[in-house]
Symmetry: C2
Subunit: 287 residues, 2 copies
Amino acid sequence: MDVSSFLGAKAQRTDEALDRCLASWAGAPALLVEAVRYSLFAGGKRFRPALVLGTAEIIGECDTPALPAACALEMIHTYSLIHDDLPAMDNDDFRRGRPTLHRAHGEAVAILAGDALLTMAFDALGEAGNATVIREVAQAAGAAGMVGGQLLDMAAEQTTPTLDELRRVHAGKTGALIRVSVRAGAMLAGAQSTQIDRLTVYGEQLGLAFQIADDILDVEGDAARLGKPVGSDAARGKATYPAIVGMAQSKTLAREAMQAAIDALDDFGCEADTFRALARFVVERDC
Amino acid sequence: MDVSSFLGAKAQRTDEALDRCLASWAGAPALLVEAVRYSLFAGGKRFRPALVLGTAEIIGECDTPALPAACALEMIHTYSLIHDDLPAMDNDDFRRGRPTLHRAHGEAVAILAGDALLTMAFDALGEAGNATVIREVAQAAGAAGMVGGQLLDMAAEQTTPTLDELRRVHAGKTGALIRVSVRAGAMLAGAQSTQIDRLTVYGEQLGLAFQIADDILDVEGDAARLGKPVGSDAARGKATYPAIVGMAQSKTLAREAMQAAIDALDDFGCEADTFRALARFVVERDC
């Protein structure tokens, strides 16, 4: 299956499950649900759910056991975008071509919608029923993972980090959630530990390639395709791969990470072909 | 055991466990851990952990299986205070006689410290290993529980709610977490469903009594004992029991809830005496 058909199919499956998930928030204030829907159904690529579901399919015959975890990972990703956009954080007015949630519904509602998404993600994970997966996701999203990475990222705006420091920021801010998406899908589908180990390397290298490609696109991308202005990282003084190691070396590092991701799938057969293509897509995409 | 010895013993047990919990956040940025410690060790009464641990003891012989859940409930309670204090929410400068976290460390750090506490609470709950408990806690803290209650509470500042609307606010904002503290303790100690049902009624009525007493203390309490100025609810136009049904009726409702909580323990013997005393303490306390 080609990558865009794969991503499209998994996005549709995730959207339907997220819709059922929100329908189960009986008793929640209507404004809260409306705010959550505004951000959750804003045209995201559902990249993390696709990793959860795709990994489960590589291991098992179907992705169903992993579907609640796919929803949970997207809910955690969406909450992180809502909170990162807040005035006290990145202070962004637009995301995916629309006003950010705090611009549309006010800061208090945005804070609470993020809190609700993060909390309810663990209700969804509880449905999957595997306490080890719950702990791994919490650790990946938490103090030493995504939240910690966001704090380091903001601190890095005041300084010029080294390449190692930049890697640490990205490993937390974007890498940890991508890595755990793959691990959660594998574990929920009943993978053996050697399979989980190989897929973990795939997830780590894919996340790295994804982030370097993102940094490159912010310099060389097309604003219309990206749905956001290019050059925003540089304008904000964000530490990026092109800023620290230059554009040519950034492209080399992105391709090395892509190849390392593909190599990590050597023990798998044609059932992992889509994931091999996904690694190429992540580096070669234009949005 | 008298109530203050009970609360003191459970607070010490919780503090030690929370300290071990934070020590396990290896790899988290030092500033994040410092901010979390600032709010987590600020002299809270550890009321929710005491309910978790006390319930476990009523059911079983020891409270150990429930200890990770006790930590998780306190982490969720603390995150909710940090986010509620933010300028976009209640905009409070002081809590327990000290600057609020965003006054001490800035808004971005406060948002992230709250996010980290909420996330890592589910790592702690995962340690307890019961997916049903995890889902119940997420639902109690989430969109139809605490987060929803906070949103309704803010909306109520613009209007004069009815008594029923006020009850709905409190059931979410403070009631849900108190109720689930009791349920989590019972479930993790292996309670039978009839025991869980009775203890749930206790938790609901205790939470109600707690909230009415809080509202009364904000009018009649002693600022020095409370560690905060009295009259702050009225100054802010907060909907409270005294504001809506008057002081005399508020005191009647508090005592009725207290008695209903005590009555719910009728099937239990002397092992529940501390919980009976706790229901009286909640209404008769002066801070």
